[in-house]
Amino acid sequence: MTATASGPGPDAGIALLALSGLDKRYGATHALKAVSLALAAGEAVGLAGHNGAGKSTLIKCVAGAVLPDAGAIAVSGTQTRFSSPADAYAAGIRVIHQDAPLVPHFDTVENAFLGRPYPRRHGMVDRRAMTERVAEIARAIAPDLPLATPVALLTPSQRQFVRLIRALADDGRILILDEPTAALPAEDAARFFAVLGRVRDRGTAILLVSHRLDELSGFCDRTIVMADGGVVAECTGAGHTVAAIISAMGGGAPMAKVQRTLPDAPAILALEGARTRSLPVPIELEVRAGEIVVLYGLIGSGRSEVLDAIWGVERLTAGAMTLGGEPFAPRNPGEALDAGISYVPADRHRTGLFADESLVFNTTLPLLSRFRRWPRLPVPSRSAETRAFAEAARAVGLKFGHAGQKVRTLSGGNQQKLLFSRWASRHSRLILLDEPTEGVDVMAKAQLRDIVRAMAGDGNGVLVSTSDREEALELGDRVIVFSAGAIAAEFSRQTADAAALSTAAQSKPQFDPEPA
């Protein structure tokens, strides 16, 4: 490491940011294992690794949000110790999250000065000085950005430019970007990197975290690969390719492939040339009864949008869908539900659960009319509901205190099981699961996947959408890989392997999306 020189200064030989031997444990989990890393001014370094590889912990240490157990951080050669995010901020470190909030009614200039002292003139806010400061940076990196337009009227990629300008206007020297392009369409991502390149050329150090590995190999000078809490490789020069990064990321623990015998059943669901507003490329897809089909891809790759179309959230603009051989065009989720489809949404807090309501309320809601006291009156029977809940809770292995407790008191894994429990009493023709084990612990993951297999074993067709590669390999009788809104590849349980899935998920689309 080079963190021995004394005094700050942009000397070429001194790393702007130097981490040496950062170590962090959370209980039994060794989250960071003696990680060292150096970042020079005007250098862009990529950071790659699977979920749980330690990237987030590393970023939190650099941002001052987490105090490492051991190791040192040096900025411009000076040893520092960040006991709070404010310390890291004062040292010029700026972490830019993809959805960092901006004030929608404020323009770029006002957002750039948010939370900072305004320049003053005669006791009044000096708008001209603010504009000059921001315009100077904007001219250099994003000359086309309208500075006086409220950010609510800007495009998502322009808002990313605003976040960059905000970081630079406040003397940010070290930028850490966390998935900056996850929400951007491909052409906007290209524009973003053109701007980011100019940021780098101003002498800013950039650490870029992305699941889109072609961005790392295309934009960064080198890429650090993490696995299992440690740095496992540094890809540079001719070895700085997507393939090299994938192979360095490794497959994690080798896992036993669960063998399942598939019934020779007819297709329960078929999509033929199906397109929606968010799926510009026609999709061909089949799910048979008793089969688990996994749609694997990065966030925004189009896999969840396929579930949206089947669940009636988005309507087909072209092509056809059949359910059990009959034409099927649900106009809303209620129609899909009535047709015998069940659905577990991703992001249980935002789109799944009713946090202030009881466990029973959350479980029985979608099929409430099954629990009537008298068949013809829409009045649920408390006892029938409680019985149904108890049965469903047993089926999914839910751990809870009492049926009336609030959802927010459950652990993440149990909340996810609660979402599953809605459909436990039902023989669905097709079950749609979006990120079914997101944000739950290892034990709960295994239990949830057992439930998914049991669902298929009961003859339900199962369609899983996931960004978790191990999950795709473990669950899928077939794995269909999505990239940039289109199907990139399809694998059977026998042909699927970790590297093939990653390569397909990183591939460029074969089609030109039709203009909207």
């Binding site: 989720p333 659905y343 949404p345 789109t351 659960l353 009713f354 946090a355 309320f361 809601l365 979608p366």
Partner: protein
């Protein structure tokens, strides 16, 4: 008694203390059967409008048009009376006007995504203009059938009709919200509208239905008010709006999650009613009455906040 239960029942205790206080201050005038009957007459229309507000707030929306809708339906009814139209035609038409106004609110919110605050304020303004135009700005009282006056002034087994109307409306609304599938769906929509839609619930339909019911209830409140007073002005429903929401907000202090409930709203209506009635009896100046009422609403909600934080 734990801290939480104290906060939860604090509003109820405050109500009891108010009643006790007024009974001591004016034992003859306040705590009499005649005054109780009078009190019920005074708060019936407010209670029904507040029930409408409770339903709409259960789905997480606002309806600012309820007072104007009450005026419009009363005006329509009395204009039809004056034109000699039979009560069995004029009453349903007047109620229907409220349902239609509510349905338009619901369609604006559910189908076009207009924030309910804006949609109902705009529609309410249109409705108040309509009421003004139809009434010609004059007070209406001609050719009112005697049967209509019985709506509010009659009684069954000695119970005043307005008390029965209030019990009927609030009883049914309470039952629907707590015991039926529809009520369950409304709570789900208010709790997390996106999750409700993704769980397959007919969210748009239920939202339109809820606003329609609110419009119908507002119309009913307007008609009962007209029946009690025997005459109609085009602005008569407007003073109901703010006290109705005040009552709902006082009521939310009794629920553990701060969600509106019919029982809580009844308590809120009772508190505002007893305050107005009692203060008038013991001779508090009207301007002081207003300031005290506002202060008490703030106090109830503040105590609730502090209770939650602690």
């Amino acid at each position: 008694m734990t801290r939480t239960t104290l906060y939860r029942f604090g509003t109820l205790i405050a109500f009891v203390l108010l009643c006790v206080g007024f009974s001591i201050a004016a034992p003859e005038a306040f705590a009499s059967q005649a005054n109780l009957a009078n009190l019920v007459q005074q708060i019936a229309a407010l209670a029904i409008v507040a029930t409408a507000a409770t339903l709409v707030m259960t789905i997480g929306e606002f309806d600012l048009s309820v007072g104007y809708t009450a005026s419009l339906s009363a005006v329509i009814c009395f204009v039809l009376f004056a034109a000699g139209v039979d009560i069995f035609i004029s009453l349903p038409l007047a109620l229907g006007a409220g349902l239609v106004a509510g349905a338009i609110n619901g369609i604006l919110v559910a189908r076009f995504g207009v924030p309910s605050f804006v949609a109902t304020l705009a529609l309410g303004t249109i409705v108040s203009g309509l009421a003004f135009g139809i009434s010609g700005g004059a007070s209406l009282f001609r050719l009112v059938p005697d049967e209509f006056k019985l709506l509010a002034r009659g009684n069954i087994l000695g119970i005043p009709a307005l008390a029965l109307w209030t019990m009927l409306v609030m009883g049914v609304a309470g039952f629907v919200l707590t015991r039926t599938e529809f009520g369950r769906r409304l709570r789900a929509i208010g709790g997390n509208a996106l999750a409700a839609r993704l769980a397959g619930l007919p969210v748009a339909r239920d939202v339109i239905l809820t606003f329609s019911i609110a419009g119908g209830l507002a119309a009913l409140a307007g008609l009962l008010l007209a029946s009690r007073l025997g005459s109609v002005q085009h602005t008569m429903g407007e003073p109901l709006l703010l006290p109705a929401y005040a009552a709902v907000f006082i009521g939310t202090t009794t629920s553990p999650t701060g969600a509106p409930t019919v029982a809580g709203t009844l308590l809120g209506v009772a508190i505002t009613g007893v305050l107005a009635n009692g203060m008038t009896i013991i001779g508090v100046e009207p301007f002081v009455q207003r300031m005290l009422t506002g202060g008490i609403i703030l106090l109830a909600v503040l105590l609730r906040r502090i209770g939650r934080a602690g």
